[in-house]
């Protein structure tokens, strides 16, 4: 039996077993769950080599599975994140109910994502896609009644995307005669122009939903913020990347070989940038950490899509690198929120403050991830941002870069809000009891934070596989000899050398830290956050002076005209209109026998009248 089958078999059986094991013993259940995620991952990296394939038939359709270089990058995201988040979620789910349900869906999602990367044909791709959809749907509705409308919204949008994809799939079958993805790609350049337009549009709708692309993003905030945080880290980190995976395959191996593809790329890039801007603004508005991170995920995916859509070599590198980085830091942040929720019971900035001394490790992880998110050197986010901007400039997208830069500057606002809201500010008696999260939850966060630090200085580590993947899609980056030296070039030959920068930053930081510490060491002392210069008043224990309500009110006032329009409203209006219309058409069935009889007679008469036009 081939190793590939074995991997999926372990996943499937592991999902079921780790559900059922809950009846026996919880520790056993956790162990089985971890095993059913970790063992296949190990097997995958040990025994499955790129290019290895298996073929079989189902329903008279040839299916074939195998990992490509490009898929391998995303397999890093899926499995790496999957394993870490699995460890995290063991800690997260301790003492919670319906763990079996959670574990089952978790393992299934990981399996389906890996399956998507494995599928070389559209049918298995679609099947895994749908499995991914409903397993994540079941996660979204994990919290019960109040999430069901959100779940429906998510499911409907996914269905729209999936059916668009299905349409594209069957059309491609009609032109190639089979369901192989490679055949479509080879046949694509010789298609008729309409099909050349239609197929990518349909596929982009399908992938755009998962990639939370404007205007298909409305499901994302609710879904991200309502599924359990341990899963959301995978949901936003890895699952959304499946959309990116599909998008990049479409863009790189189809559109980029299309002379008329120019408009495609422009439109998509603009959609991505607008997504980024709108997502950022809404993220700044949020008072709930989950929602904030959800919107920021939407925004980050916007950058990624922009990078991939531009289609130059550097921009694609930027997009894919950002995809990896986003998977790292956003999942860390969601994990941090999960830890805080577990320890304090709330994720609202206006309620919980001053956790820095209570949960220092969580703070450290969040700080690193936030710096990476904001794209500030020397952490990994900066590399991606740098490449993105350089590619935008060098490819003359001068308006686009302004928009992107605006959103990434406005991102500082919610970055600061996140750190301040939870960890800084006044330390309250109410939260004095809070302890640091269990070690099982802290370790994955710290590992991921460390990763984002390493990638900031040595991006070559991940740029190499990305490079290989791009070559697999027919792109040949020119300066891969530089991956080891961690110097980034743009196509104008301008460079940024990461190592000197890192050393300089660390050096200066260390010097002044030492200065601040040893200067007057004896007379430097810590005072509580109650001891502040509040015009001579001594704040009482119960008075919380932290400023956390309407945090960015002036900014919000400034951008109010943009925020007034929500796409959600338009969708709801459309849906209600449809329902009303159908309610009208429903009246065809009057429930009255005579009417039905009249229908029959009329039908007969009309048929007899027009029979010669219809038949013969």
């Amino acid at each position: 039996m081939d190793m590939i089958y074995l991997i999926f078999l372990i996943f499937l059986s592991g999902a079921v077993i780790s559900w059922l094991a809950g009846k026996v013993n919880h520790v056993l259940q956790d162990i089985l769950f971890l095993a059913s995620v970790i063992v296949p991952s190990v097997l995958f990296y040990m025994n499955v080599s790129v290019g290895q394939e298996v073929h079989f038939k189902a329903g008279g359709i040839d299916l074939s599975w195998g990992i490509t270089d490009f898929g391998w990058i995303f397999s890093l995201i899926v499995l790496g994140l999957g394993v870490l988040a699995a460890i995290y979620s063991v800690g997260f789910m301790k003492g919670k109910e319906r763990r079996g349900y959670f574990y089952f869906n978790y393992v299934l999602s990981i399996m389906s994502m890996l399956g998507i990367l494995f599928s070389k044909d559209f049918v298995s791709f679609f099947i895994f896609w749908e499995i991914m959809t409903w397993s994540s749907y079941l996660m979204v509705i994990y919290n019960g009644k109040h999430t069901q409308s959100i779940g429906i919204k998510y499911f409907i949008f996914s269905a729209i995307g999936a059916y668009a994809m299905l349409m594209a799939i069957v059309i491609s079958h009609s032109v190639t005669g089979n369901f192989m993805i490679a055949d479509l790609i080879t046949a694509y350049p010789v298609l008729s122009f309409n099909l050349q337009l239609l197929i990518p549009i349909l596929l982009l709708v399908g992938f755009g939903v998962k990639a939370a692309l404007m205007p298909l993003h409305v499901w994302a905030p609710g879904a991200y913020s309502n599924s359990p945080m341990a899963y959301t880290s995978v949901f936003s980190g890895a699952l959304s990347k499946m959309g990116v995976y599909g998008l990049s395959i479409v863009m790189l191996s189809m559109i980029s070989h299309l002379p008329e593809g120019f408009w495609f790329r422009e439109v998509l890039a603009w959609m991505g940038a607008i997504t980024a801007a709108i997502g950022t603004l809404w993220a700044v508005k949020q008072d709930d950490a989950k929602k904030l991170l959800a919107y920021s995920s939407v925004a980050q995916l916007g950058y990624i899509v922009t990078g991939i859509a531009i289609g130059t070599e550097l921009s694609i590198l930027a997009g894919l690198f950002l995809a990896v980085m986003h998977a790292i830091f956003k999942s860390t942040l969601f994990m941090a929120v999960g830890a805080i929720e577990r320890q304090t019971g709330t994720t609202n900035f206006t309620e919980v403050t001053g956790l820095i001394r209570k949960m220092p490790w969580t703070f450290l992880a969040s700080l690193m991830s936030i710096i990476a998110l904001a794209g500030i050197p020397p952490l990994g986010g900066f590399v991606g941002k740098w490449m993105l901007y350089e590619s935008l400039i060098t490819s003359d997208h001068y308006m686009l870069i302004i928009l992107v830069f605006f959103s990434s500057t406005a991102a500082f606002l919610y970055c600061y809000k996140f750190l301040f809201g939870f960890f800084l500010g006044q330390e309250e008696k109410e939260w004095a009891h809070v302890k640091e999260a269990p070690v099982l939850m802290v370790i994955p966060m710290l590992v991921l934070a460390g990763l984002s630090f390493v990638l900031g200085t040595f991006p070559g580590l991940i740029l190499k596989p990305i490079d290989a993947g791009m070559q697999a899609l027919g792109f040949a980056p020119t300066n891969q000899h530089l991956w080891d030296t961690s110097i980034l070039f743009n196509s104008w030959g301008n460079q940024v050398a990461l190592q000197p920068i890192l050393y300089a930053i660390l050096g200066i930081f260390v010097v002044f830290t030492i200065f601040l510490t040893i200067k007057g060491y004896k007379n430097t002392r810590y005072v509580t956050t109650k001891d502040i210069s509040s015009s001579g008043e001594v704040p009482k224990e119960h008075e919380n002076l932290t400023f956390s309500i309407n945090f960015f009110q002036p900014f919000m006032r400034a951008v109010e005209p943009v925020m007034r329009r929500q796409i959600d409203k338009y969708y709801n209006g459309f849906a209600n209109g449809l329902e009303a219309l159908f309610d009208f058409t429903r009246k065809i069935y009057t429930g009255n026998g005579q009417t039905y009889a009249i229908y029959v007679i009329l039908f007969l008469i009309i048929m007899l009248l027009i029979k010669n036009n219809v038949f013969g």
């Binding site: 019960g144 069901q148 429906i152 499911f155 069957v170 079958h173 159908f582």
Partner: protein, 494 residues
Amino acid sequence: MVGTPVLLVVIPLLAAFLIPLLGMIWKELVRIIPGLVLLYMFILSATLLNQVLHTGPIVEVIAGWRPPLGINLVFSPFSGFLVTLMTFIGLMVWIYSYRFKQNVDFEPAKKYFILLMMLVTGSVGIVLTGDIFNLFVFIEIVGISAYALTAFYTERNSAEAAFKYLFMGALASTFLLLAIMIIYTQLGTLNMADIASKMPEMNTTYKITALVFLLTAIGIEAEMFPLNGWAADAYTESPGPIGAAFAGIVAKAGVYAMVRIIFTMFDVDGTMQFMLYIGLITLIVAETTALRQDRLKRMLAYSSIGQMGLIMVAFGIGTAEGVFAALFLMFNHAIIKPLLFFSGSYLVYNSKDKFIHETNGMGKHIPITSILFALGAFAIVGLPPFAGFWSKLSILTAAADENMIIIIALILIVSIIELVYYLRVVNRIYFFKMAEGVEPKKPTLNALFVMVTLGVIILLVGFYPDAITGVLHKASGDLLDKTKYIQDVLLLNP
């Protein structure tokens, strides 16, 4: 050799008439005998089908009169497949409705099972017969038993529904008879194969007129828009299992008759397009209507009509893939829709008017039924990895190969609508609080057995579609091969 096709018609008829007498011996026999008969029919048809798939079709001649003079039954892969399906569903319905209503006493039970037998027999006859007048007779049998079953709960609504059904049925039989008369006056024969072979000589005007009458008549049985007004009421007011029987057996028979007429008997251009577009209209109207229903069984009924429309679309594509997809859809629909009716009628068991909101919170109290209902809902919408997905994929592929992109788009949009209203019900089942005074009814063991069996079949076909596709390919090939059918029937050698 377990028996010949003719037994498939004779035995249940006999049984139907013997049941009362046997009931005098021992009341329970009334309930048991039909089961045995249906079981026998299923086994017989299954074995026959298995045999037919390897050797050619069996043509059974009644009373030694050779076609075209005599009446004959044709057990080809296509019809055999349908018969097997129908008998299987009939068996399931029987197992399910055994003790469906405790309070049903002897007399109604007798009626019920007799009528059920008649229903199955008529449908099987419709599928098997090779003679168009015979077809008329069997349609009448089905019709009568169906009216009676619709009116089974002798209440106002059911009586009204039955009246509507009767009304339309009467119209149907009138038109059918008219059509048959036209054909007979023109061709002087009633044998389908003979008609098919002689059809070219027929005068076009008469031919088309006859076709229109036939389509109208059969369209009523096959729930074709706008002739399907009766269907919703009949599904809703008849007992739960009977709804399943209508969806799984009667409608299939109607579609079979229509297909037989269009594919085999008539050689008129444009029939395919007609079927395609009328099916599309049926699909859209029915599904949009189902979206706005507030009664569970009514919603299921409209969704069933929509499925019939989809099947017509698949047939209307006209290619081999199209027919294959249609058969696949028929199979899935015949498996899934009964499951939905079975589980649904337990979800709203004790309620009077079967509102959807009365299924609130059932997930906690009757979990297996609920999960099976959800399974059926997801399967019929066509989510992988369930059975429905493969049929949907095949019909879309077939349509795409004919470059019917608009039609694909419409089908997909409609299935989003379908998804919406099924998802609403599932959400109600799992996320809403149960209303006051609703006491859920635990399904009886046999009902549970039936539902689980159907669910297992759905999963099986979903994960391993090859289990069924072989048969479907043979059947579709058989349907499309018109000359072979004529030869088999007319020039059969003793």
